[in-house]
Amino acid sequence: MRILILLLTLLSFLVAENYTFLVQPYSKEIELEAKIIAEIANASLHSKIRLFIPHMTEMEEKVYSKYFILSPKCETANFVFVNKNIEKEALCDNENRLFFTNNYRKLLSDEKYFGALFWNKSRPNIVFIHKRLEQKAIELPKTFDQFVENF
């Protein structure tokens, strides 16, 4: 019984989310997005990740730099996360780098992207396209199988 109480207490402290006032700009959602992208990038590439996000905001720069080496240009990056609407020409080729997006429709229509993190029915989702993983010789861990789809 004592163990149970101890566990419950520990659990309750671990999930504590209370704050007094949110005086600093709220970054928790970007923080989680960054963690998810870090998981995906590290599982997809075996070298050190150099991330490029086009038109990166100040907040994104602050948060993403905790998990990645940020690349100022597309050309020097090996992982590109496109989470805004940009002109296609603004991006470099996809020979030596992987492209990931936050737009499901963009994933379907543009073969450059091997996967997407997007929202549907108020829930975040991840999809990798099997054929494109094969083309780019990306081997994802078994735990990622549930996110891989055949189109």
């Binding site: 566990l7 499901y104 229509s109 997007f118 549907n120 029915k121």
Partner: protein
């Protein structure tokens, strides 16, 4: 050893960065709806998506009725009406309501009741309620409470949703929300709703009702720099007690069609330059017949009985146009916002007729020549980070009111100073001094006491102090406020008057919440207040609510208290509004819910009067009822 192993297992589960766990946390963080909160505006209460779902808040009033230092009543037209603690106002301008960036308060009386009152929350993501003047930040008209309603994000929904509910009183509501996003970065969310309202009460053996229908349409389209919001409502309802001198009209109806379009564009890469344009058009019709007479104050001369109408009808149009431009910029530890806002309001009487006791019909037209107002505002805010744990906020706003007719043009200088101090992670303090003014509306001037037609702006001086302490899963808060009001606008039985002396009110609020888990929470709140005037509404109140979930079930129970009071010989009892409900999630996308409302049948009551205030009586605001609802996402 076993304990250590078990602890290790638990923490590894909790700290697991597996994608599944991260996705789950991402969703639950998003459901906490903290992305838009602005602590610098005032003292804020957030109703998150998670809370709206767990507590089965289906209408905006479900949220507002538990707010502290706030009373929610039914007015003589059967419409919901919001008042500051201790007082009852027939329609109020203290409260400003926004859907996203657009203020939805009426151009006529500053109330939202007729067109947008009791808004369904099916398309709403979260609601923020700010106690304190926030017109400094948004350039809009002044107020005391600011209710900001944020619609669901098309980018996060990307789906369709059907919601339907039916109550044991016969009210029904059906809605469809549809959203989609495109490859080019544009997305849209559309909301359609149809409601049948049944609300009846017996007074003096006569059934008063505000039965009717409502339709809502809302469209939100945009991309990273552009936001376009379009809203439309069409309301047709009976007029409850209406303006009848005996409070029991023979017939009467209110009709309202309200349309708005709001366009926002963010310039520059950091979106620091914001332009906003909007237009609102509201067509309103009202008719009433009552052989006992209609208390239409603007046309009645008490010395001449023939001025009392027995039939009354009117068709009105109100147009509001608004332009806003703001620039934010940072210089060292200062964050500045400078903005300019221009608003024009017009009031057009298309038809207004009365028929008196000897069947003479008269085309009344406008009650007075005040039918246009332009408000030009300049505003400036600086928030200065003095130390890591201390932010100072200073605002100033200059409003210039350009009015046609006999009302003088006027200018008001608004001022606010505040500090937010967070000495440790557990302690937080916030304090503001605000000086603001609420100008009279077209409605106030129409219904002004004839002996004082030139109503003045109400002047408010508000002092607030809030302290918050958090420890583990507990959060404890205390808020104190002291408000002084000069020229308070009061609706006497013969029309609006400016009260000729200073009114003072103090409020003290305690708040405690404890989270058992991410899903289970208990929340307690109690407030007490004093008012220097005769009390005609509750002055103390509170709530206790518990919400949570187990596997496929969500459940909640809540008890909202308002104290009783005595007014002119009427004894209004304490109110205990208790509700409980359960939701069963058949799948992630389909659920049904049942909710029992006002179980103890101890609703709040509102005061009404007959014959120019000769008699007063009270009626219940809510019935005991059961609501059944379904939600399907596809």
């Amino acid at each position: 050893m076993k304990i250590i192993l078990l602890l290790g297992l638990v923490s590894s589960l909790l700290f697991s960065d597996s994608l599944d766990a991260l996705l789950q946390e991402y969703k639950s963080t998003s459901d906490n709806s903290l992305q838009t909160v602005n602590e610098k505006i005032g003292h804020v209460v957030i109703y998150s998506q998670k809370e709206i779902r767990l507590m089965q808040y289906t209408k905006l009033n479900d949220i507002l009725k538990e707010l502290p230092l706030f009373n929610i009543n039914t007015n003589q037209f059967g419409l919901t009406n919001y008042s500051l603690t201790g007082s009852k106002t027939t329609t109020s301008g203290f409260f400003r309501f926004f859907i996203n960036d657009h203020e939805i308060s009426s151009g006529y009386d500053q109330s939202t009741s007729l067109s947008w009152g009791d808004l369904p929350l099916d398309f709403v993501d979260h609601v923020e309620i700010y106690y304190g003047e926030s017109s400094f930040s948004f350039g809009n008209e002044t107020g005391i409470y600011f209710v900001r309603i944020y619609t669901k994000s098309a980018l996060k929904e990307n789906s369709s949703e059907i919601n339907s509910l039916i109550t044991s009183k016969g009210s029904r509501s059906q809605s469809l929300t549809h959203s989609s996003s495109f490859e080019n970065g544009w997305s849209y969310l559309m909301f359609l709703n149809q409601e049948q309202i049944k609300q009846t009460t017996i007074y003096n053996g006569t059934k008063l009702n505000s039965n009717g229908t409502k339709q809502y349409l809302y469209l939100d389209a945009g991309n990273e720099n552009t936001k376009i919001n379009i809203g439309y409502t069409d309301v047709s309802k009976n007029n409850y007690a209406g303006l009848a001198l005996d409070a029991t009209p023979e017939s009467g109806k209110s009709l309202s069609k309200d349309f708005f379009i709001n366009y926002t564009y963010y310039f520059l890469e950091d979106k620091s330059l914001k332009a906003n344009l909007s237009i609102d058009v509201n067509d309103r019709s009202y008719d009433e017949a009552n052989a006992q007479g209609i208390g239409l104050i603007p046309v009645i001369n008490l010395a001449n009985g023939l001025t009392i109408p027995k039939i009354f009808n009117e068709d009105l149009r109100f147009v509001k146009t608004n332009a806003y431009l703001s620039k934010s910029f940072d210089i060292e530890d200062n964050s500045f916002i400078a903005a300019v806002n221009v608003k024009n309001k017009t009031y057009d009487v298309q038809n207004r007729e009365t028929t008196n006791f000897i069947n003479q019909t008269k085309n009344v037209g406008a009650y007075n020549s005040f039918d246009e107002e332009t408000i030009s505002s300049l505003l400036f805010q600086d928030s200065y980070q003095l130390r890591n744990d201390l932010i100072l906020v200073a605002n100033t706003k200059l409003d210039y009111y350009d009015r046609n007719a006999y009302l003088k043009d006027s200018s008001e200088t608004l001022l606010r100073l505040g500090a937010i101090y967070t000495p440790t992670e557990n302690w937080g303090f916030k304090s503001f001094y605000t000086q603001t003014a609420l100008a009279p509306s077209f409605y106030n001037i129409d219904y002004a006491d004839k002996s004082t037609p030139k109503l003045k702006s109400q002047q408010y001086h508000i002092y607030t102090l809030e302290g918050v302490y958090t420890e583990g899963n507990s959060k404890f808060g205390v808020t104190f406020d002291h408000v002084e009001i000069d020229d308070f606008l009061y609706l006497s039985p013969i029309g609006f008057i400016n009260i000729d002396h200073k009114i003072k009110t103090d409020g003290l609020l305690f708040d405690y919440e404890y989270s058992f888990s991410d899903r289970d929470k208990i929340h307690l709140n109690y407030y007490t207040s004093t008012l220097s005037e005769t009390i005609n509404n509750a002055t103390k109140g509170g709530f206790i609510k518990f919400m949570g979930g187990y596997q496929k079930f969500d459940y909640f129970t809540s008890l909202i208290y308002r104290n009783g009071y005595e007014y002119l010989g009427l004894d209004i009892p304490d109110s205990f509004d208790m509700s409980l409900g359960v939701t069963y999630h058949v799948t992630k996308d389909f659920s049904y819910s049942i909710k029992a409302n006002n179980i103890l049948d101890r609703s709040t009551q509102s005061l009404y009067f007959t014959n120019f205030g000769r008699n007063f009586f009270a009626l219940d605001d809510n019935d005991r009822s059961v609501t059944f609802s379904i939600r399907w996402v596809f």
